[in-house]
Symmetry: C2
Subunit: 188 residues, 2 copies
């Protein structure tokens, strides 16, 4: 397990604010799964909320609806091939944890596992909104615990240590962008 | 106006897939406004849909609810200070177009303007979901037209020409990340 440190809940939105692609992990009744989701965003500051799209065809959907919980894991560039794989293969066919060598570690509050080697983790409880879940595959969650690898995020700031240990942004096919240079601006 | 080329609607999600911060432009009854939104995401492929958070306190909220339309504009790094400014100042106090020198150009289908100098534009019609608008400030839109500066996006691909003409990802304070290197992976 990579090192992890609690992120104060009012700062949890900063783990997603720059729009990284995440891994959604889930578990229910002895089954577990992990999928990739570029379509995620923060939804509120405090208590922190998130939104994520989870397609009806996925095993993740079934496990999230049954458990009412999920974890958003922020993978690093080192995990890009793994992210592509778990975004392509279905958990209905086989255990994706064993297929792609994704390690899971127990979370603090929810039953879904934390994916090892990621940069940050948001443990979430589903805010039930059956209409938008059904009509748009759109799930809202309240963040009940948040964690980050202090080598990449601490004191409310991302500070990626190198070119590999940084978050990633999926485009399409096998193409991603790495999170690039940080810069500061002042109002004009 | 920067150059712009139509993006086929089934490829419009790629304009947002990597999680850039956007400018939300709106207009109604002779008033217009622009604000920044890090909290946006694609929601569907075809017909393309998007989700964006628009706080109750904003003039944008009033104009979007009244018109049922908005544009998501993808700004470049050259527009980062402007993005910070329109994310901080309120359109209730003064016309942000004149304050920050943001130029607007008529859109093809909706009444909200396209912000000049951006890299891409998604013209959207609100999909009315009053409950989630009220409870979460969450707006869903169907993309009815999409455009990109062909210097940065063409044939369904981003290909940023330099370090300045690339999309940006807001963190907090005055800090942004630029969209970084593109890379390809294969499944493990």
């Amino acid at each position: 397990m990579s090192s992890r440190q609690a992120v104060p809940l009012p700062k949890a939105y900063r783990l997603l604010n720059h729009g990284p692609t995440v891994l959604v992990s889930s578990a229910h009744g002895g089954r577990r799964n992990v999928m990739a989701a570029a379509w995620n965003m923060a939804l509120d500051f405090d208590p922190p909320k998130v939104a994520v799209v989870i397609d009806k065809s996925t095993l993740t959907r079934e496990l999230v609806e049954a458990s009412g919980e999920f974890v958003l894991n922020v993978p690093s560039r080192l995990q890009a091939a793994l992210t592509l794989a778990v975004g392509t293969k279905s958990g209905r066919e086989a255990d994706k944890f064993s297929i792609v060598g994704v390690g899971g570690t127990p979370a603090a509050i929810v039953g879904a596992p934390l994916i090892e080697g990621c940069l940050a983790w948001l443990e979430c409880r589903v805010i039930p909104e059956p209409h938008i879940q059904q009509a748009y595959d759109l799930f809202l969650g309240q963040v009940v615990a948040a964690w980050a690898d202090p080598a990449a995020f601490s004191d409310g700031r991302w500070h990626f240590p190198d070119q590999q240990q940084r978050s990633i942004h999926y485009l399409s096919g096998g193409t991603f962008f790495a999170t690039g240079d940080s810069f500061e601006v002042r109002q004009p």
